[in-house]
């Protein structure tokens, strides 16, 4: 157990150090997220009634597509530069590599998602500074990352990673998207635990199941 944690933390720390130094993934993901938000801003007339209806959907579509970009990079970069083998050569359980990568992807995505709060406020008068929304964001992002990190490991080994990751990933995380949109509507309408609770528990249940499943499947995916 100790070596699992130590290795996962080592991978996470290495990723964070790299990210802090190059800001490669972070800046690409943030730029994309802002662009997507702006495109929606042009596409929809941000009157209060419209925003109340489609706001949550817009937010989560933006987050999901941004997430796909970020998750693709998780393993694509490691593989293209050959460093993935360095990880695979180490006497480290594959679950630990998965955990470390999952943590770093989730961290980057959460940072970007939070940075987008003011953008949505400005464009849509959508106030996301809401404790429930924060919880939903965390739960849903973990869910996306859990599945996305695994499929990213698959997609990174192919020529068609841009299409393969969304194709594999979206049907599986569909429940999380539905849950996130529904609970966001409730949260923004001020429903509190009554409206949000059921969905939040649902997303967390999804997270737990797929964290375990992905951790188990990771070894099979990486095996040559």
């Amino acid at each position: 157990m100790k070596s699992y944690l130590r290795s996962a933390v080592a991978v996470y720390a290495k990723d964070m150090r790299l990210e802090a130094r190059t800001k490669e993934t972070f800046s690409a993901v943030l730029a994309f997220a802002v662009i997507v938000a702006f495109v929606f801003g042009f596409a929809f007339d941000p009157s209060p009634t419209v925003v109340a209806l489609v706001g949550p959907g817009i937010v989560w579509v933006a987050y999901v597509f941004t997430g796909i970009l970020g998750m693709n990079r998780t393993f694509a970069v490691e593989r293209d530069r050959g460093t993935l083998e360095g990880l695979l050569l180490a006497p480290v359980g594959r679950e630990a590599i998965y955990a470390g990568k999952l943590a770093s992807t989730t961290t980057i995505m959460l940072v970007v998602e939070v940075l987008l709060y003011p953008v949505f406020l400005v464009l849509f008068e959508l106030n996301l500074f809401n404790i429930w929304f924060v919880l939903i964001t965390i739960a849903a992002t973990v869910g996306f990352s859990a599945v996305g990190t695994l499929f990213s490991a698959i997609a990174a080994h192919t020529r068609a990673r841009e299409i393969l990751l969304p194709l594999l990933f979206l049907p599986i995380v569909l429940p999380v998207i539905i849950g996130a949109v529904a609970s966001t509507s409730a949260a923004l309408a001020g429903d509190g635990w009554d409206g949000v609770g059921k969905w939040l528990q649902f997303i967390v249940a999804f997270d737990l199941v797929f964290l375990v499943l992905s951790s188990w499947a990771f070894d099979f995916v990486l095996e040559e």
Partner: protein, 231 residues
């Protein structure tokens, strides 16, 4: 191995063809014409639509189960079965989606309804397509088999979540649409036709999967011989 089950497979295919002919008769002659609300003649598509969707689900269950066995026990046979199931299942789902759309338009004036069944069917169809595509992009056949197995297992694990989410979503947003045929008692002719259709499709499924699995087996044998010979 290829010729061993040939007799049975041919018999199954023959049986499927025969059942299909009888089924067509039942659907178009024996079953009563539906009411205007249900679409009159178009309603007959129900006998294709529902069995296709159900068989799609069964294909998925078979593919997912075979995938689990493949990953844990590593027999090539299981991968072949899963693959064959996925291919046949994709066709069934496509038929289900297509017939669903054809039926929905005249009856409900919309091409598609995101009810629980529709969402589930569509989602599983996408998973199947991902399953097939991931194989073609894999660097080796083995890796493709493993990746596909993972995809199938993930799809299966997601099903209960999709079902619940779609159910709650439907409860929030749309008035429940009473599907034609959802009513309590069915006329006996409708029931008989429906059950017969179901059996026909089931036999078709088994026949096609058996055939495809055997074909794959022969292909793999050829590959192996090729390798040994290319000295």
């Amino acid at each position: 191995m290829g010729t061993a089950g040939l007799g049975i497979r041919q018999a199954l295919l023959g049986l499927a063809a025969l059942l299909f002919l009888i089924d067509l008769y039942l659907i178009f002659q024996y079953a009563p014409t539906a009411s205007e609300a249900l679409g009159l003649q178009v309603q007959r598509i129900f006998y294709f639509h529902v069995p296709s969707a159900l068989l799609g689900m069964i294909s998925f269950a078979v593919a997912a189960t075979a995938s689990v066995v493949y990953l844990t026990k590593r027999g090539r046979k299981w991968d072949r079965i899963a693959w064959a199931s996925a291919e046949v299942g994709t066709v069934f789902f496509t038929v289900a989606i297509g017939t669903g759309a054809i039926w929905a338009k005249p009856v409900w004036q919309t091409w598609w309804v995101w009810d629980v069944n529709g969402t589930l069917t569509f989602m599983l169809w996408l998973v199947f397509i991902g399953y097939l595509i991931v194989r073609s992009y894999a660097p080796t056949v083995e890796r493709g088999s493993r990746w596909a197995a993972v995809v199938a297992i993930f799809g299966a694990a997601a099903v209960p979540f999709v079902y619940m989410a779609a159910d709650w979503w439907e409860g929030l947003h749309t008035e429940r649409i009473t599907g034609p045929g959802a009513s309590g008692s069915m006329q006996s002719e409708i029931f008989v036709t429906f059950m017969f259709s179901l059996v026909t499709f089931l036999v078709l499924f088994i026949a096609l999967v058996a055939e495809r699995t055997a074909q794959r087996g022969v292909e793999e044998s050829i590959e192996e011989l090729r390798r040994e010979v290319s000295a």
